[in-house]
C-alpha cells in the first residue's frame, strides 16, 4: 500500500515580520501542519525568483513567499520592489504552465501568529488536494536516470 501523500512546502520569509509571526505562532503553542520548511531571509527584497525555481528543482509541491505588510518593511521599501517582481514572475510561471495555485504570497506581521498558523494549514490542505506536482517531478526524474550509452 502506498503512503498517503504529504505535500512538501517551502516557505521563504523575511526575518522581521513573517518569521517573527511564525515564532509567535510557536510561542503561543498554536498547532499547524508540519509540511512546511521555513527559510528565513533578511527581507522580501532578498527573495530572488531563483529561489522559487530552486525549490521546484528540489521537488517542492508548493511554495509560500511572505513578508511585511506594505509600509512595514524594515528597509522601508524592499517589499514594494518584491511585489512588482512577484507580479511579473507569477505571470511568467503561469504562462509556462506552472500552476498559480502552487505558489502563494502573503503579508504576515510579527503580531499575526494566528494568521500564520491558519495560512500554513490552508495552504497544506490546498496543495494536498492538488496532489504532488507530477509534471515537474517527471522532469526531475529524467535528470536522475542512469545514463545509458
Amino acid at each position: 500500500m502506498s503512503e498517503p501523500f504529504e505535500p512538501k512546502i517551502t516557505a521563504f520569509v523575511c526575518t522581521y515580520c513573517t518569521y517573527a509571526g511564525a515564532d509567535l505562532a510557536g510561542t503561543s503553542r498554536l498547532k499547524y501542519a508540519p509540511n512546511v520548511r521555513i527559510i528565513r531571509l533578511p527581507c522580501t527584497g532578498r527573495i530572488s525568483p531563483m529561489f522559487i525555481l530552486k525549490a521546484l528543482q528540489k521537488g517542492a509541491d508548493g511554495i509560500l513567499i511572505s513578508g511585511c505588510h506594505p509600509g512595514d518593511c524594515h528597509f522601508t521599501h524592499g517589499n514594494y520592489h518584491a511585489r512588482r517582481r512577484w507580479m511579473v514572475f507569477r505571470a511568467l510561471l503561469s504562462f509556462t504552465g506552472i500552476p498559480e495555485e502552487r505558489i502563494k504570497y502573503s503579508w504576515i506581521s510579527a503580531a499575526e501568529g494566528l494568521k500564520f498558523a491558519d495560512l500554513i494549514n490552508n495552504i497544506t490542505e490546498d496543495i494536498r488536494k492538488l496532489g504532488p506536482f507530477d509534471q515537474y517531478h517527471k522532469l526531475i526524474e529524467e535528470t536522475q536516470a542512469q545514463a545509458s550509452l
Binding site: R84, V88, L93, S94, Y105, W107, Q135
Partner: protein, 276 residues
C-alpha cells in the same frame, strides 16, 4: 537617389568629417537573403553597405562591445525603431552614453524600406510613443491566444515539448542586445541555480530565467527568436511578458533614455490582488 545610396553617402560624410570613428551597418551575407553586420572605419569602405528589406537584425547590441565607446568618440549605427528602443534601454540602464551614438534610422513597414528622420535618441520620442499605442503585428499571435486558453497542464506540456529541443547553445542570449551581463546566472556554479544538463528540467529553468530577466526590457526585435537553431518560439514568451508589463505597469520598454527600469522601481499602489 535610393535610400541605400543616401545612407552610404551619409556614412561616408560622417567618417570623412571625423564625426564618428565607426559605422555599424549591414553588408552582404553568405546567401542572397542574408545580411551580416559590417563595421566600417574608413570612408572608402562605405560602398559595401547594404540596406534593404533583409536588414532585420537589431545591431544595437554591438554598441556595448567592451571598450568600443570608452574613448568617448562617436559611433554611427543603423537602427530600426526596435533598435532605437534597445538603445534607450541600454542608456537608461547606464550601459552607454546615448550622445556617443549617431542613429541612422530606417524602418521596414510591410517589408518596404523607409528612411527615418533624426540622429539622436531624443529625435525619435514621438515615433516611439506612437509605437506604444499601436497593436504590434506579431507573427504567432493566434498561437499565443491558443496557449493562453489552455489549462496549466496543457501549457506545461506545450512548453515541455518546446524546451526539450533546447540545446543550451545560448545563441538567444548572445543575440540579445539586453543580455550584456559579464557573468550570466546560468554560468554561475556556486551556487548552481540552473541545472546544466541537457535535460528538459534545466532547459525549462533557463528559458524561464531568460524571459524573466528580459521582462520589461525586451523590445521584441526578434534577434533571439531568429538565432534559436531549434526554432523554439521565444517570441511568444517575449510578447506575453511585454504585454504583462504594459497592462500591469503601463510600461513600454525603451521610450526614453531616462525611463525608469520597471523592475527597479515601484508604486505604492501597485496591484496586489494575489497576495494573501
Amino acid at each position: 537617389m535610393s535610400i541605400e545610396q543616401q545612407y552610404r553617402t551619409r556614412a561616408k560624410e560622417l567618417l570623412s568629417a571625423g564625426e564618428v570613428k565607426m559605422v555599424i551597418g549591414y553588408g552582404a551575407g553568405t546567401t542572397a537573403e542574408r545580411r551580416r553586420p559590417l563595421f566600417i572605419t574608413s570612408p572608402d569602405e562605405t560602398e559595401r553597405l547594404v540596406l534593404d528589406s533583409a536588414c532585420i537584425a537589431n545591431l544595437s547590441g554591438y554598441l556595448v562591445t567592451e571598450g568600443l565607446l570608452s574613448d568617448e568618440k562617436r559611433v554611427a549605427v543603423f537602427l530600426r525603431p526596435e533598435g532605437i528602443r534597445a538603445l534607450n534601454v541600454l542608456a537608461a540602464e547606464a550601459q552607454l552614453d546615448p550622445l556617443q551614438v549617431v542613429i541612422i534610422g530606417f524602418d521596414l513597414p510591410k517589408g518596404e524600406l523607409k528612411a527615418l528622420q533624426g540622429s539622436s535618441v531624443d529625435d525619435f520620442t514621438a515615433l516611439l510613443g506612437a509605437l506604444k499605442e499601436s497593436t504590434p503585428d506579431v507573427d504567432g499571435r493566434e498561437l499565443l491566444e491558443k496557449i493562453e486558453k489552455m489549462s496549466p497542464e496543457e501549457r506545461f506540456a506545450f512548453w515541455q515539448e518546446e524546451f526539450s529541443k533546447c540545446i543550451k547553445c545560448y545563441a538567444c542570449r548572445q543575440a540579445c542586445p539586453m543580455c550584456y551581463c559579464r557573468r550570466c546566472i546560468v554560468d554561475s556554479n556556486q551556487p548552481q541555480w540552473v541545472n546544466t544538463s541537457s535535460h528538459t528540467l534545466g532547459n525549462f529553468e533557463w528559458n524561464i530565467v531568460r524571459a524573466f530577466h528580459l521582462s520589461g526590457r525586451c523590445v521584441e526585435c526578434g534577434n533571439c527568436d531568429r538565432a534559436c537553431p531549434v526554432n523554439i518560439p521565444l517570441r511568444l514568451i517575449n510578447r506575453k511578458m511585454a504585454q504583462e508589463v504594459l497592462d500591469s505597469f503601463n510600461h513600454f520598454a525603451g521610450t526614453s533614455k531616462t525611463q525608469e527600469p520597471v523592475l527597479a522601481s515601484f508604486k505604492k499602489d501597485d496591484s496586489e490582488t494575489f497576495i494573501l
